[in-house]
Symmetry: C2
Amino acid sequence: MVKIIRVNMTDRSVRVEPVPEAWLGLGGRALTSAIVAAEVPPTCHPLGPSNKLVFAPGLLSGTAAANSGRCSAGAKSPLTGGIKESNAGGTAARQLARLGIHALIIEGKPSGEGWYGLRINNAGGVVEEESETIGKGNFAVLDALHRRWGEEIGIITLGPTGENMMAIANISTKDPEGKLRSFGRGGLGAVMGSKRIKFITLDDSEASNIPLVDRPAFLEASKKFAKTLIDHPVSGQGLPIYGTAVLVNILNEVGGLPTRNFTSGQYADHDKISGETMHDTIVARHGEPTHNCSLGCQIQCSQIYNDKDGKYLTSGFEYETIWALGAGCTISDLDIIAEADNIMDDLGVDSIETSVMFGVAMEAGVLPFGDGEGVLRLLREEIGKATSLGRILGGGTGAVGRAYGVTRVPVVKNQAIPAYDPRAVKGIGVTYATTTMGADHTAGYAVTANVLNVGGKVDPLKNEGQVELSRNLQIATAAIDSTGLCLFIAFPALDIPECLASAIDMINARYGIKLTGDDVTALGKKTLKIERAFNLAAGIGPEQDRLPEFFELEKIAPHDVAWDMPTEELQSFWKGF
Amino acid sequence: MVKIIRVNMTDRSVRVEPVPEAWLGLGGRALTSAIVAAEVPPTCHPLGPSNKLVFAPGLLSGTAAANSGRCSAGAKSPLTGGIKESNAGGTAARQLARLGIHALIIEGKPSGEGWYGLRINNAGGVVEEESETIGKGNFAVLDALHRRWGEEIGIITLGPTGENMMAIANISTKDPEGKLRSFGRGGLGAVMGSKRIKFITLDDSEASNIPLVDRPAFLEASKKFAKTLIDHPVSGQGLPIYGTAVLVNILNEVGGLPTRNFTSGQYADHDKISGETMHDTIVARHGEPTHNCSLGCQIQCSQIYNDKDGKYLTSGFEYETIWALGAGCTISDLDIIAEADNIMDDLGVDSIETSVMFGVAMEAGVLPFGDGEGVLRLLREEIGKATSLGRILGGGTGAVGRAYGVTRVPVVKNQAIPAYDPRAVKGIGVTYATTTMGADHTAGYAVTANVLNVGGKVDPLKNEGQVELSRNLQIATAAIDSTGLCLFIAFPALDIPECLASAIDMINARYGIKLTGDDVTALGKKTLKIERAFNLAAGIGPEQDRLPEFFELEKIAPHDVAWDMPTEELQSFWKGF
């Protein structure tokens, strides 16, 4: 029997509730957004008692479906002021699903200064006062909780930045190796911090297996599905071998690798931070170039990156982080970027928001461009210790821009723009501008047709076709984000018809229903419309669906292009719903 | 012949232009808002080259009309993100009018790191490189420029906070005593800083007198007008004797004096910071309890406040500053508040934004409530020196709230809420929520009918009638702000029919036109609609016409009242246009 677990932090009560009819067919992002839209006043203070933090596994979570390990977290974002869904790999989705938890809703706010841990198990949950782990980094939290309750426990954890309610704070969760994955974007860690919850443990030791209404059909669909992931060149070869950092050289080649705080589209030292270099370095140091972030992953874009002495340095070392500190801040030393990545995991910060922020901080003169040691110091000594400078930096890219009067501030709805320059890859620019999430490449990854020739081809330098491309991708993404499937299934899904068909077959076999492709599209559309309505009610209207002015004023090399999408064309995005 | 002076800081050119037909009948706020709306893209970065800083004297500026010394400054605000008009007393309006300057428009932005001074005289103007005064406080700037060009020169100046483009930075201007008045609100100093202009001098030594089309009619109207100012008890007695601080005891009595960062409506130590105490202190120390901020002022609400040794401490010592540091921060020592006021003048910061910000900083634990010495230290050592903490505080009330995760943050559209609690004085709450300016009591001073029984009586604790009251006041205010007349003429204008009639007669006699009362109302409405349209295009929509959530969640003593204005009622404000 699936259930809602509702935790009220005002009185520390935990209630087990039946799932309302309207939410039964939803999972992941569709569910967190539906709950946030239904229960959170759009105009509330994101760190006040009216905001709610919601976790939801996807429709396929906990099954043997390949790449079904994504868990969604939702709330009103302290960074964007709008609705937020951020999803992560790791073990949480699987454990929540096995515990029959459709959604975990955390609401209210304690009046005092105390901290709490939330323990969820088969019987429900309990809120307990916590002291040992307070002020500690995420890795120390994992160690402490493993000692306390064993290695099998699932953990969702908050770093010190989340305790300090910084807008760059993420929420972290354990992966199968006991390392960290992140609900990265939108400052959800600050929301968890405002609820004064340091960690959530998930004990599924007494849970039963996920029921499958039509097991043979599920297994058959599941095999077909997995095969498409292996057959596609991006999910079957590019990502497994080089990780997401395979994109460094590709984006540099097309002139869309934002360099030195978005002042060029190419980085002279791109080879030093490329996926190819990372792969060779990992192999030479006996790390693991190919690694999964959740059970049942067929793509395995993660890796274990060791230092010069062969000692673990970081994992889940993503293109966006490598790009932002590498090309964005012109730090050409992959070891320093890896060390920064590990510190960011420990502090619990969104590595995109934080790394892009450093580019603006460098432009502001807080530290010189290229100063990798400076970044490490600022992370450890300022952000980690919540000094005054740390509080400025911890506010994220937009806040640093405001504090120092910088005008070249790459944000949309106050969230940092990631690793693809919208002037040279115009489809992703449409996504940045229009998504409900604030600048977010994963909301509608138009790099596919703009650059990778996946799902067709749309000239990245022209405006034609970009709005439609982004719209279709955003709809599909909202649906995928609701299944618990990793977004990287989009690569085969866009090129191999059996991929999406077998994914839908898995959902149908799991629940004994008969969804069609149109139903899935409708779910994606409905989710986006719910999110959009929340944002409009929160005061985020069409005028905020735009890129910052500097993209229009400043052309970048090598294509000598500015952002020139007419406003009416951009705003036609939401007319297509 | 009136003219526009257009200064382009990109190439440091100064052009003298004829006044376009559409702008000829406008002055003050009506003109700055019309120019900003016509020439500034609403979505531009407020510190970028596309924003423009506009100064305009009012329709009656430079004449012998009583209280006609207000000068307007306008731009897109870096604090609110919307349109901004802020007006100040002093000598600038008179000098600009005498020079025949209808408006001074500063546009563009230098590419380098150099600083400039702008010198305006009868022949036009010139931009010159500047070094001596850079980094200096406003008083030192006045001294240096007086030494350089004599005491008669008019000066508009930027403090070090403006150089650092802090959002609390104001623009200062000289009063007849050589002290400072401020274009206080909305961070216009940051805009001037972004243009890299340290000061503007106004040399009207070769200017001719203001032409009056019908001199006898003007003089007659002017006499009648002045008499109404003297006859009304508020402008004729309350303000001259006690200054604006007369309001401390009045607001405390009605339970609308926001105390300890808006957690109560009454302050136990109100007597220590009252206008009555200030008056007695000034008299005992041989200061000046009654003083003008501009030539021809009949109200003279200003004063010269000396320290214990009879030495000048500050002037223009306003209720809002005294309230915010006094009741708001529970600093009960008027001498410390006066010293802070003087430092704020020297640094060039909006004393409302800055003082309200300290209340939030105290709630965040940056310093204890009541720590007056701490405020002085933070002003001098942190804000003044632009340290990291200074940069946080310099971002204003909203920025401090975000940096420390405080939820009780009294701002509307990111601008600090002034000295009247909207829960106990609901009419002013409507003004805070709906004005185009961000929270601004002067935009529609409903304290009149809510508390002072001026212009009728509307129960301050009830919602009924407040929207209409605020709307009528906002329309009238926009008109008054366009004349160059001090807003305090509203007290007699609301109660004595000859006041407004004679003001209109003065305008008609000055220009040889035949405006009616309806024309003036139409001007006010038109100005508000222009400002509103700018804000909507900038992404500030009706959902942002609201008070922060905590006013709804938290009741205050003594009336045990929360903010409970229905959203539809509040949003009906703009339907009345």
